[in-house]
């Protein structure tokens, strides 16, 4: 979700020199009213996780703090994405790594000119194989270089990726890219300095979706309740992403679908009305009218930091 601020300047001749609602930087005699437009990207999928195209503005309803809002803008974005691909190259991945790399290449191949990606591998070290780039050839070569044998610094890797995406937030917002971490791993963290609380706390402050693909298996079955899965599920849920347990054979399809989902979002815009102003949390609820079978994914609120006019 991004916040676009539309600033209306009204020059008011005021003999007494009194101005109300002074904001930093405003000149005497001017009254500045800030009106914020709240943008909410929403992913709409069916029960099988496929993107639902063709929805229109009137199909949606949005509430802020349980107060219905009037949509002022509606776009179907094939938006750009800024993604950091984290590839687990620890020793336990060694016999699956080549297959995993081929699958990750499919994500790279689906990139559009608006997208940027960074390839990072992690075993007991987190190693950048490329910087953020839109050059598919560079990224493909970086994926091919992935190799490792050590322990698993899963939390370090996620924490680093969150830092990377936080550092480029302004650029991505200006160029209207959604930020995401796409993580492939097969087990629990064994060598990170960062702990789960710290990763979760950091993720709560960074506007980035976390998608985790787990190859963790026990007797052929996905380990859905191990420490790693529980943590990744919490992380994904908090961010608006997902944890999935693909089979190695169809890992490529998962990467493609992920790429598709990240790219296809409806972006709803509204000017908040009726809810309380001030520095506080505002809860957002989005529904598709008359389609209870649709699955929506969006961040459920934002924290306003300053004053704004309430209408």
């Amino acid at each position: 979700m991004t916040k676009h601020t539309a600033v209306l300047l009204l020059a008011v001749a005021c003999a007494t020199g009194i101005a109300s609602n002074r904001l930093s930087g405003q000149r005497r005699g001017e009254t500045v009213i800030e009106t914020e437009v709240i943008s909410v990207p929403v992913t709409v999928n069916d029960r099988r996780g496929r993107f639902i195209p063709g929805l229109k503005q009137q199909d949606f309803e949005v509430l802020e703090d349980n107060i219905p809002q009037e949509l002022t803008s509606f776009t179907i974005e094939e938006s750009g994405i800024a993604a950091e691909l984290l590839i687990d190259v620890s020793g336990s991945m060694s016999y699956r790594l080549e297959e995993a790399k081929r699958a990750a290449q499919q994500f790279v191949q689906q990139m559009t000119p608006k997208d940027v990606a960074k390839i990072v591998q992690f075993d007991d070290r987190v190693t950048e194989l490329s910087d953020f780039s839109s050059d598919k050839a560079v990224l493909a070569a970086a994926v091919n270089k992935a190799y490792g044998v050590g322990a698993t610094a899963l939390y370090n890797a996620i924490s680093r990726a969150l830092d990377d995406l936080a550092a480029r937030r302004k650029v991505d917002e200006a160029e209207q890219r959604h930020r995401a971490i796409v993580l492939l791993t097969d087990g629990d963290d064994t060598s990170s300095a960062i702990n789960e609380d710290e990763v979760l706390s950091k993720a709560g402050r960074v506007d980035a979706l976390v998608y985790a693909l787990s190859l963790d298996r026990s007797n052929g079955l996905p380990v859905t309740d191990g420490p790693s899965a529980v943590f990744l599920n919490a992380l994904a849920r908090q961010s608006g992403g997902q944890l999935q347990f693909p089979e190695l054979a169809n890992l490529g399809k998962f990467y493609r679908d992920l790429s598709d989902e990240l790219r296809h979002q409806y972006v709803l815009g509204y000017v908040p009305a009726g809810s309380k102003a001030g520095a506080r949390w505002h809860a957002i609820t989005v529904r598709v009218k008359n389609r209870k079978d649709y699955r929506l994914r969006y961040r459920t609120g934002y924290f306003a930091t300053g004053s704004r006019s309430s209408q």
């Binding site: 987190v126 322990a151 060598s191 300095a193 960062i194 709560g204 608006g240 529904r287 209870k292 929506l296």
Partner: protein, 763 residues
């Protein structure tokens, strides 16, 4: 002589006793006045009194004693305090009153081990004594007049003490080789002035002592709490203030030039406008005892006081500086819960007994407690307050010898469930601790909630806590749990019902423990394994013992047929081992597995419980199991991860930095650095420095660099000071930083050393 302790404050009781022929310690040369007067002694709590060597009463609060005019020696004896001696002069037909509060003016005796059958000496407890030696263990005190002055102080003869010590201070001034003794003279002069209730002068005398000898300490085993508090307060006198040696008055400074106006704050600086003295020291240490100056909110202005944590006596004490404040208290360590940050700032001190909890705000931030001040949420607190609170918490944990769960992202805040549900935005993204009754519809799958006073919040166990919840949920339902973890609001995912289940905030819980497992059962006596094996206690007292976890007898430490139950496990130190029964090797956020090689070779545990005897074997019937980080750190055999298989010969390198140097950090940030090899933590102090890259002069008096082997060879660097926004802060590792193989850190070969940099954001 037998004493009877009443254990209560008794109402005033006047006891008139006839005293035999006057004896006194008349000063040499002074004529003895004739006639009689009345000596009134008021003491709290009740104690035994001697006047001029004669027992007056064994146990009372107020005595009226007719005595001959002249100088008399009063000695107050109480089993918990060292003998208190005072000299008091009685004028003919006059009444002189000596009023003493032992908690204020006395010096506590160290806590002695309780007597018992066949018991050996307990570790860490000093013997009770009748007072310090002549020099109070201060070597180098040779000046005879100084020794005389010190003796006057010990004898309670404070007026001549002041005269003598003032003269000594003057005589020793200006001679460098006597500066140490001069400092001692100022110290005792200040102590005498405190007893004469001339506290302001005492402060200045202490300040002069501190300036003369920065290493001088006022020992809590020698000086009263009031003296120690005044000693600590003396540090607030700025070094620039000149104090006259003779009169102990502040010398007025010469007219100063017009001060440079402070630079205007940056427009985006949203820190509330208030005067903060970042150099105001509120934490000090006095011979191993930690002293922290705190403020407490009242209906009027906040009141100040000092919290003292004394590891030698295992006591936490509070001493207010004025009236209308939280009354003083002394509690044993075991009664104090591990503190956390309070929801509105400060340190939340809670107790395992019925004693009410208290929020203590670091003294430099006392203005936040002014009654007309808007109450800030945790997210809105000034960075300086967060830094002070974090510094205080760290040092308290260290003094309590408890494991501090450092987090570089947030302070752990103790918050009631109702507060979390009513004001979730205030804690969003933070790490919280709360408690409530476990509620769930499915013990296996959840969802799980903790409920308290009609408020309910969802918890999502993660990591080890998830494993524990699955196995323990059926046992925990309906019981009060203490839950810690990250507090946030997950994204909404619509359910099959269609409406987005706008999930409320929840706690991703990484630690869960039943509240009744942290109940206070009285202090547990610490013993070694050798003591409980060779000389086991035969009563049912609570014992605490530390040993290395050895699994289910994985190494054959104990005879196989001595096991009582299938779940029993073994702890061992270098020679002795015992079975632990009644509880699994699990506790707050951990669970050890006897089939895991790392678990049975790496972890020390502290077991609290009672000793049992069966068929000639000793067993620990455990009531509580904790990890013992102190022993964990010290154990040389602990296999630590070496990143990339770094060998002995390889030099250590930095493998992870958090936050990374590409992000801007907040002014109250801590930084984490992970190394490829275990580091020698003794090489860190002094070899890790902070500075601003543009050369801005800055001191970091509270810089704390803490090594965490359990975080895979990491250090957390706490600047201890609010960083200056919009500047680049550098952490410099000097060549002295070495690993356990005595190899220096990569990149420290050339000046200035290995440098890491972060930009400090505006807000």
């Amino acid at each position: 002589m037998m004493f009877r302790r009443t254990g209560m404050v008794v109402a005033a009781v006047a006891v008139v006793l006839a005293v035999a022929a006057a004896r006194g310690y008349a000063q040499a040369g002074a004529p003895s006045p004739t006639g009689t007067g009345t000596l009134v002694v008021v003491v709290d709590p009740p104690a035994a009194l001697y006047v001029d060597g004669n027992l007056v009463t064994v146990d009372a609060t107020r005595q009226e004693v007719p005595v001959p005019a002249g100088l008399h020696r009063v000695r107050i004896v109480h089993p918990d305090y060292q003998d208190l001696v005072r000299r008091i002069r009685i004028e003919p037909d006059k009444t002189a009153t000596l009023s003493l509060s032992l908690p204020e003016r006395g010096v506590r005796k160290p806590v002695a081990a309780p007597a018992g059958r066949g018991r050996g000496a307990t570790a860490g407890r000093g013997a009770a004594g009748r007072g310090p030696s002549a020099n109070d263990g201060l070597p180098g005190v040779t000046d005879p007049d100084l020794l005389t002055g010190i003796q006057f102080v010990k004898d309670g003869d404070f007026e001549p003490a002041v005269d003598t010590l003032t003269a000594v201070c003057r005589n020793l001034a200006g001679t460098p080789r006597y500066v140490g003794q001069q400092a001692v003279a100022f110290l005792y002069l200040g102590a005498a002035l405190v007893e004469l209730d001339r506290v302001d002068l005492a402060r200045r005398a202490f300040a002069l002592a501190q300036r003369a000898d920065k290493n001088l300490v006022a020992a809590p085993t020698v000086f009263s709490r009031l003296t120690l508090a005044t000693w600590a307060d003396a540090r607030t006198i700025p070094g620039s203030e000149e104090i006259d040696l003779d009169t102990l008055t502040i010398v007025p400074a010469p007219a100063a030039p017009e001060p440079t106006p402070p630079p205007a704050p940056a427009p985006e600086n949203l820190e509330p406008e208030r005067v903060i003295d970042p150099e105001a020291p509120f934490i000090s240490e006095v011979e191993g005892a930690l002293l922290l100056d705190f403020a407490i909110a009242t209906t009027a202005a906040p009141c100040l006081g000092t919290l003292m944590i004394n590891p030698a006596q295992q006591i936490v004490s509070w001493e207010p500086k004025g009236t209308a404040c939280l009354p003083s208290f002394d509690v044993p360590f075991a009664e104090v819960r591990s503190p956390a940050a309070a929801p509105r700032g400060g340190v939340l001190l809670q107790f395992r007994s019925a004693r009410q909890s208290v929020t203590l705000m670091p003294a430099p931030d006392a203005d936040l407690l002014e009654p007309d001040r808007e109450k800030l949420t945790l997210n809105d607190l000034p960075p300086s307050t967060r830094v002070h609170t974090r510094s205080a918490l760290k040092r308290i944990f260290r003094a309590l010898d408890r494991s501090w769960t450092d987090s570089i992202s947030s302070l752990l805040v103790d918050v009631p469930v109702a507060e979390l549900t009513e004001n979730p935005a205030d804690y969003d993204g933070g790490i919280v601790r709360t408690s409530g009754t476990l509620v769930t519809t499915s013990t296996r799958r959840g969802p799980y909630f903790v409920s308290d006073d009609n408020a309910k919040i969802q918890i999502a166990p993660a990591g080890v806590a998830a494993t524990m919840m699955r196995s323990k949920a059926s046992e925990w339902v309906g019981r009060e749990l203490i839950v810690s973890g990250a507090f946030s609001r997950p994204a909404a995912i619509s359910s099959k019902g269609g409406t987005a289940s706008s999930s409320p905030f929840l706690i991703t819980a990484t630690k869960i423990e039943p509240a009744d497992e942290v109940k206070y059962s009285g202090p547990a006596r610490s013993l070694t394994l050798e003591q409980i094996v060779k000389d086991p206690p035969w009563n049912r007292e609570l014992i605490r013992v530390i040993g290395k976890y050895r699994g289910a007898n994985s190494f054959g430490d104990m005879p196989l047929d001595s096991r009582r139950n299938s779940g029993d496990w073994v702890i061992r130190d270098s020679v002795f081992s015992v079975w632990v029964t009644g509880r699994r090797p699990a506790g707050n956020g951990f669970e050890l597995d006897s089939s895991n090689t790392r678990d049975v070779t790496s972890f020390w545990v502290a077991v609290t419980g009672r000793v049992e005897h069966r068929r000639g074997f000793v067993y620990m019937k455990a009531e509580k199991v904790e990890l013992s980080p102190t022993e964990f750190k010290k154990d040389p055999g602990t296999p630590a991860i070496r990143i990339g298989g770094a060998s002995v010969r390889q030099r250590p390198d930095i493998v992870h930095i958090d936050p990374s140097e590409s992000v801007e950090i907040s002014p109250d940030q801590q930084m984490l650095v992970q190394f490829t090899k275990p580091m020698d933590e003794k090489t860190l102090p002094g070899n890790v420095q902070l500075r601003y890259s543009d050369g801005t002069p800055a001191a970091f008096p509270y810089l704390l660099v803490t090594y965490y082997p359990e975080r895979h060879s990491s250090v957390i660097i706490d600047p201890g000071t609010v960083l200056i926004p919009n500047k680049t802060i550098e952490v410099v590792f000097l060549p002295g930083v070495k690993d356990v193989d005595n190899q220096s850190l990569m990149g420290t070969d050339t000046a200035p050393g290995r440098v890491l940099k972060w930009r400090v954001k505006r807000r």
